[in-house]
Amino acid sequence: MELWARVDAFSGSVRDRAVLLTRWLTRSNFAVFPGPSDDLAAAAASPLLRHLWEALPNELGWISTVDHKRIGTRYIVTGFVFFVLGGIEALVLRIQLARPENTLLDPATYNELFTMHGTTMIFLFVTPLLSGFGNYFVPLLIGARDMAFPRLNALGYWIYVLSGAFMYSSFLASAVPQGGWFAYVPLTGREFSPEAGMDFWTLGLLFLGLSTTAGAINFIVTIFKLRAPGMALSRMPLFVWNILVTAFAMLFAVPSLTVAAALLELDRTIGTHIFDSTAGGNPLLWQHLFWIFGHPDVYIIFMPAVGLVSTIVPVFSRHTMVGYLWVALASVTTIIFSFGVWVHHMFATGLPPLALSIFSAASMMIAVPAGLQVIAWIVTIFVGRPVWKTPFLFVAGFLVLFLLGGLTGVMVAALPFDWQVTDSYFVVAHFHYVLFGGSVFPIFGAFYYWLPKMTGRLLDERLGQINFALMFVGFNLAFFPMHIAGMLGEPRRTYTYPAGMGLDGLNLLETVGAFLLALGILIFIMNVLYSERHGAVAGDDPWRANTLEWATSSPPPPYNFATIPTVYSRDPLWDRQSERTTIAEPEALRLGRRETLASSVMDARPELLMRVPADSIWPAFVALSIGALFLGALAGSLALAIIGAVTLFLGISGWLWPAERPL
């Protein structure tokens, strides 16, 4: 308890500041943290720990594993596959638009491709891939051995991959959704979209929503309960803060998509009239419901990426994050604001001017916390000593692109301007700057930063620089001209345009840029494949970073930490005082138990050694039975739905049945 009192006493930012000031003055911004397994007892225990935590080395182990690192890796790999698919769709669209009155695609195919491009990138790529980083790194960053609900975590992944396959199977059924990623009624209702494409879309998203919700609950409980002792909320890494606020946004935003999609599907299949203006319904309700989800979703995509930036900036600036508290609070504020701005997607729908003005003001207000974060990053870079490695290049690129996207964001938040450019390529340019520039660039930075931890090998720096240069130049070539094309009046989602309207050159440039961008991504894939075998060995902490994931080996052992660390500051690995303490592993082993430490929500005082469930076949089983339910709904097959419901009940019962005899 004496030591615990010491941890408590070390709360003051005064002390933090003094330490940092000293380091700054002495030009040694970081201290060397003792390597992993420095504790002899723990080292002796680690083969036994490995035995407890490792999945079976066969197919059964592959399908039943609940290791958050394997699940996280699967999310990232699957998300990247969808990124490539959505990218190929985008390239086909760009080839079609490369010259006027092109006939490569007919209008219907064009509609299918832009619908699937948007749906894939938003729902199947960015969100799950960022969840993958969260899955892999949140337990490592907070010094835990797994997520709070490891089996739920596995279920989330299986549902995600099945729902993705579900939506993409629409290509096999030749019934690809055509309604755009926000699927406005009445276009997507039964009358105007009688074919099954929209059913794939609505049911697929309902299916996927289960995964997102399960993930959100898991993240919140993990972050609240499983932080290492001493990691009070005020010492939590900013990436974890951002995953936390994102999870809350998911928790309250996804229901709106669920309600919207379910109501649309009911309208389409059993003939209810929710969106039918001839029978008391209202199509505008769809837009409200969709954007009450859709706008927070923009931040669900963006906030984890902001967390990645706040992770990379201090490490490569060799300086602790400036304005930590402000950055954390800005994330919280942004997420709260994001629930109050959805109508800015509906400025052109004829709502009352007062409502529009309020939402316009709210939308501009959201730039305040965003600007605050940008300033904090720039100041951190300014006072630090930047090291221009590839992860930092992507973050620098992000800062430029996000600034541009943010500026056009404030422009389209202004009503008269929005009325001018709504549904034009200006809007396409704006949201690609904030989503691709704001989210995908940090994701690539995180690839270069964190893949060494995951694979044990560094990515090649030279290829990384080429990768970044091609992506940055290609991105700007592809999307900057869209601002101009939009101002000139080129409407989005139109499969072609006539020659001689000033759009020919711009569109050709955009297509060239898109291919350069794709080439950059191709080089990234080559870099990963090459470095996987021939890359320099990363070691535990190649970047001499500040957070706990670097205090274990690369790749981390199945149990993450042989000893659970104790945390004394925001930068535990730059802090000499952070020594690791340990739980008596040999005893845990004797009991044959997988355990991690649960702690109190606010100040992370240890509460109990929590049992962590073992690998289980039930998550995959439950995901399959839910899949059967949705397939039954899609095919209108009652038999299939009943099979799904019964197996679902059996699966959940098997899952929740206690594994051990009562004490």
């Binding site: 996804v254 009911l266 929710i274 739980i583 355990e595 009562p662």
Partner: protein
Amino acid sequence: MRVLVRGGLPAEVPRGGTDTLDAGIAPAWWGMLLLIATEATIFALLLSSYVYLGFASGSGWPPAGMKRPELSLPLIGTLLLLGSSVPMVWAEAGVRAGNVGRLRLGLALALVMGGAFLGIQALEYSHKAFTPQTNAYGSLFYIITGFHGLHVFVALVMNAVLQLRAALGHFGATRSLAISVVGLYWHFVGTVWIFILALVYLGPYLIGRAT
């Protein structure tokens, strides 16, 4: 008692397996709380849609020509559903005191009351003069009450599983977490009904209408 190799953790950190934890500490309890938060949002959005379409309809809500909902059956149902939380609480307190018999009796009582609520809802449906296909009001009436009914059904299934596990001797004074967690869900399903009753059943009587 845990043996600590080197400082850091207080020696008295307890060990917990499934079902043995106190509600406020257990991740499962937190998980249920968050599930309830997201489910409550779904209900809030459905009820908002009901209010939105009502305001937009222009001919009253339910629309002109449709009767206001009959109240006697739903009010009996309300008493049963909200009342069923009492044996749930009683059962939970029972198992905490080590009385598994009280747990099983309380669960059974709650199951019967919840089941009766569903029966009354089915009876009410059979008397209705409209279907989900009649108009948007009809659609939302059935969607909201039906979705709630589905939640009651799920709560009943959970209750039955707990009953089975109680019969197999899974619960006792120090093993009651599952009861607390299901109890939380049970009370949530009742609480949501208060809002549905207020907006869908009582609302049309409180707010003037066109006809």
